[in-house]
Amino acid sequence: MSILEISNLSLSFGGVKALQDVSFRVPENTVTTIIGPNGAGKTSLFNCISGFYKPQRGTISYEGQVLSSGIKPPRRAALGLARTFQNIALFRGMTVLDNIKLGAHVHMKSGLMSALAYFGPARREEMAVRKDVEQRIIDFLEIDHIRRQPVVSLSYGLQKRVELARALAMQPKVLMLDEPVAGMNREEKEDMARFILDIREEWGITVLMVEHDMGMVMDISDHIAVLNFGQVITEGLPADVQKNHEVIKAYLGNSDIESLRKKLNPEGEAA
């Protein structure tokens, strides 16, 4: 069953067609990856799903319900669509802990009056969130040593991890990751890949990601959709996508396809 289904989505900015008739589905409890060259429309698609862009045509169905353009980003967040950004969008002046707690914002209820008084319901709720964040997320992502540090002081890899933590605090059903391992070293990439797999397997969260690192994409994805010039070229299992001529053309141009295919798929040589 698909938790997210994109049908015939079109988005243009003036004359620029960012997305043309895009259709694909995200099966539930999978790691689904959107790949494609730069400018193919991957981030635009994310922005449509999270409600920042309003597509001119087409629909996005989430859990069988059509998300109309009247459903604004905060509401979509409350429905269980969480995301991270390509260039980290943390709150730089706040500590790691406060950033993660902000993820839980939609699930908290204290109003202004109880916040002013603090002692009583507001404090009980804060402590429950703190406990949940500590035990469920900070432990899992191994960031307990930095919880009191302001985000600005952290390395890039750790900032990406904190952003993932914040998205997890939203208790999402679908986690959208925009280039989760871009700019990371090998060790950080392996850590992140492990976290993504654990999130799917242990927490049962569907992961939808955009990523350029083909090694990682082919290793951990269950389902891949390929976007080029705003159109879906193909979708399917990693092995099928790797062999697809259109995909190879989109990535490598129209020359000697056989030798390029070997580059893209080194294991294929043995066969």
Binding site: P73, F91, D98, H105, V106, G111, L112, L116, E134
Partner: protein
């Protein structure tokens, strides 16, 4: 060097004071506040009350500008709304001061929400201009709506009263103003320990990610405006009870700039900074006057020479602080504290 402060519970870890020493110092500070009116002369008492009012209003503006990132030049206007509400209520009803002050705050909050409406669309300097327009508009209402505000002549009011007590002297007013200031600063501190305060800061730091986390921008921006102008309204109400006359000229535009300067000099987004900024902005001009008086015996020309210079020196001090301490007076305090925490080591 501070050691051995491992915590056993999340409650202890998130407390405002995490060590006994801090509690002791704060207790001492409260004791000084309590004893101050018995020891101070009438001039110091007068200044103490002014600082108390300024602390409330600066804390309010800090919530809006320092923590939520919305620049406002309407603070004096909101204080005016509070002051006129108190004046009108004390003239036309017999309500005691806790009720009138609460209503003053609520009235100002309502006006604040109206003024805050453009904040969803306009940001930064544009919002400053929008709030400036609101403050000019409020000034116009204060001056022209004669049946309610008494026009240019303003309103004179009776002293605050409660259960047959009247609060006529500065000494009595001190015991309304200062406890209220302490209470309201704590209430603000509490807000920033909860989801509401975090949402404000999130909007300041990066409003797009705030939205993706499910924070409704308009709702929280208006909430920040309401809370901030509630503080201004209460401060204005106290101002009315303190001076017992309210005119349109009591709340000039320069007063809004005064509070904005207090927030910036003290430290934006830092409640302690707001307090220090309010004290600095209120007390430094007075200190300069005292300095002039102290110099007169040695240089008989001092008053002639100094009085036109006071404003210039005051301005230069502000500029100096901004250059050498861009994070505000609060940063100086943090540095002192860090020194003692690490002593005898250096950071």
């Amino acid at each position: 060097m501070r050691i051995g402060d491992a915590k056993q519970s999340y409650e202890a870890d998130e407390a405002i004071w995490t060590s006994g020493t801090q509690k002791l110092w704060f207790g001492l500070f409260l004791l000084i506040l309590l004893l101050f009116p018995f020891l101070a002369d009438s001039y110091l008492l007068y200044l103490g009350c002014l600082v108390g009012i300024a602390v409330i209003s600066t804390t309010g503006l800090n919530i809006l500008t320092g923590f939520t990132g919305l620049i406002s030049l309407g603070q004096a206007g909101f204080m005016g709304v509070g002051a006129y509400t108190v004046a009108w209520l004390s003239l036309n009803t017999g309500l005691p001061f806790p009720v009138t002050l609460l209503l003053a705050g609520l009235m100002a909050a309502a006006v604040g929400i109206l003024v805050g409406l453009p904040s969803l669309r306009v940001k930064g300097l544009y919002l400053a201009i929008a709030t400036l327009a609101a403050s000019v508009f409020l000034h116009f209402i204060f001056a022209e709506w004669e049946s309610v505000t008494g026009g240019m002549g303003g309103l004179s009011l009776e002293p605050a009263h409660l259960f047959g007590w009247t609060f006529q002297s500065d000494f009595m007013m001190y015991f309304i103003i200062v406890p209220l200031a302490v209470l309201m600063v704590f209430a603000a501190r509490n807000v920033f320990r909860t989801r509401i305060g975090r949402a404000f800061i999130a909007i300041r730091d990066r409003d797009i990610s705030a939205e993706i986390l499910g924070i409704n921008l308009l709702r929280y921006k208006l909430m920040s405006f309401a809370l901030s102008s509630f503080y201004a309204g209460v401060a204005g109400g106290l101002f009315a009870y303190f001076f017992r006359v309210v005119t349109p000229e009591s709340f000039p535009l320069s007063m809004s700039i005064f509070y904005l300067a207090a927030v910036i000099v003290g430290g934006m987004g830092n409640l302690l900074g707001g307090i220090l900024g309010a004290a600095f902005m209120t007390l430094v001009p007075e200190a300069l006057k005292l300095l002039t008086a102290a110099l007169t015996p040695f240089y008989p020309d001092a008053p002639v020479f100094m009085s036109p210079m006071l404003e210039i020196i005051f301005g230069a001090l502000i500029v100096g602080f901004l250059i050498f301490e861009p994070h505000g007076l609060a940063e100086i305090w943090h540095r002192i504290r860090r020194f003692f925490r690490l002593w005898p080591f250096r950071n």
